[in-house]
């Protein structure tokens, strides 16, 4: 399972180019000074080493911001429902440059998607995708993935990992069986197969990465404290400058709420499934007019507790993966890290 190749910059480029030529490939593409995962046909179009603070999550490739659920047609005999056109994300594909935290997000999402109702679209997209992950060299200002309940170093959320060793070499390592098979088939260009030394190098790289974190917390303690802090008054001040937009949820690699809506022209229509967010005031508004979460602090409590307590209770994994995307994108720089730490202080 631990197939390791050693290569250099040029080799990695070649490796990528080969993949892009061979597979339906997605990679971070710069749009308006922000990187988003798009279909690429040339390596020049994208940057697999995109910096984490300005890279959007890979979530939309599995759970798109909007997706067709079904089509319908009306005529004198009534309404006929039909399947949508082919899912554009369901084909065999490779994603380059996925960050570790982002990939972990998918693993977390799997839990909710495979529980009870199985979302076949999601399942298909997951199964048909090979994830090539680039390990960050240095933590971003808002990163705290190492402080959570998963092992970033030995994460198996991605299939293949690429590490820029401190020795100047680049290591390509398979993590899963899928990854190993993939590497076997697509590594004709790679000359040197790595040794025990490479493993050490990768470890060293991780050590230096781990020491670059600004944010660190004691996950276990926070989790335990939060469980008892549902009524904490601290939720109010920490959320006081929140403007109740949906940015944090839409940008988050693990938020998975959605709404259903129909779009109709003439007598044909499509049913869509699109993002929704618990952070806007009317997410919980009921038909009778009652709203259990009218105030900002209640919505923030829900967000923080769901990320750090409820999901863990329900599925055994923490929903927050510590990527810091929400804090980076938040219009008023609220960080969920600060929120949970302040409440659990």
């Amino acid at each position: 399972m631990n197939l390791i190749f050693e290569t250099d910059k040029a080799g990695l480029q070649k490796f990528y180019e080969e993949i892009i030529a061979k597979f339906e490939t997605y990679a971070p593409v710069e749009k308006f000074e922000k990187f988003d995962y798009k279909r690429v046909s040339k390596l020049e179009e994208c940057n697999p080493d995109s910096p984490i603070p300005s890279t959007m999550s890979v979530k939309p490739l599995f759970f798109p911001k909007t997706a067709k659920v079904m089509k319908f047609q009306e005529d004198s005999s009534g309404t006929t429902v039909s399947e949508t056109d082919e899912d554009p994300l369901a084909g065999k594909r490779v994603i380059l440059g996925v960050k570790h935290c982002d990939a972990r997000g998918l693993q977390v999402l799997d839990e909710v998607y495979k529980w009870d109702y199985i979302d076949t679209d999601y399942k298909k997209r997951r199964e048909n995708t090979i994830i090539l992950s680039t390990r960050c060299d240095k933590a971003g200002t808002q990163c705290f993935c190492t402080s959570l309940d998963y092992d970033v170093e030995n994460s198996d959320a991605h299939d293949v990992r690429i590490v820029n060793g401190l020795d100047g070499k680049i290591y390509i390592q398979s993590v899963t069986e899928k990854g190993e098979n993939f590497l076997k088939e697509n590594s004709s260009q790679q000359s040197v197969v790595g040794s025990q030394q490479s493993v050490e190098e990768i470890k060293k790289h991780y050590k230096s990465f781990e020491s670059s974190f600004r944010l660190k917390m004691n996950y276990k303690e926070v989790n335990e404290k939060l469980q008892k802090l549902f009524d904490s008054p601290e939720f109010d001040p920490v959320s006081s400058n929140c403007i109740s937009c949906n940015t944090c949820a839409f940008i988050c690699p693990t938020c998975h709420c959605f709404k259903i809506s129909d779009e109709k022209i003439k007598d044909t229509g499509v049913r869509y499934k699109s993002y929704d967010s618990c952070n806007n005031g009317y997410f919980t508004l009921m038909a009778g007019g009652h709203n259990p979460r009218p105030a900002k602090y209640r919505r923030w409590r829900q967000r923080a507790m769901h990320k750090f307590v409820y999901y863990k209770e329900r599925f055994g994994v923490n929903l927050c993966v510590g990527c810091g995307h929400c804090a980076i994108s938040c219009p008023v720089n609220i960080s969920i890290f600060d929120v949970v730490n302040q409440v659990a202080k």
């Binding site: 067709k68 089509k71 779009e263 022209i265 003439k266 044909t268 229509g269 499509v270």
Partner: protein, 162 residues
Amino acid sequence: METEVKKAQGTMVSAENPDITAPADWQPVIMGILCNWCSYAGSDLTGTSRIQYPPNIRIIRVPCSSRVDPWFIIKSLQTAADGVLISGCHPGDCHYISGNYYARRRFLVTKKLLNFIGYHENRVQFSWVSAAEGPKFAKVVAKVTEDIKQLGPLHRYKKENF
């Protein structure tokens, strides 16, 4: 260049999207939104006078041009329409005193904004047609239809083809 070639070959090319073409006999759909008191009455007069005009326009009646929210235009352009014509009373003639003055401001800003984001300026047109101007209505429709025919089919932002 490419556009010219395609035109020569007898196809209509979308002004906003050179990749989109239609056969030479393609007919646009134009959404007409008319105020009840002047332009709708004027269009009725065109009918009673049997003045002929191109059949591409589909007419919606509203009480006053000031009832026209810019998103009627946007929605029309997103759905079937290749162009929109909105018509109201001449300045000073508004049945509701001042409706068309407010409408005029919105129309100008909307038209310029639509042009700015990439709609040809002729896609959305406005006219003042009084209840007595049956012939003018026919002329306006003929002009707008011809203008929009020249622009070819509208493709951008159309709701997905189901």
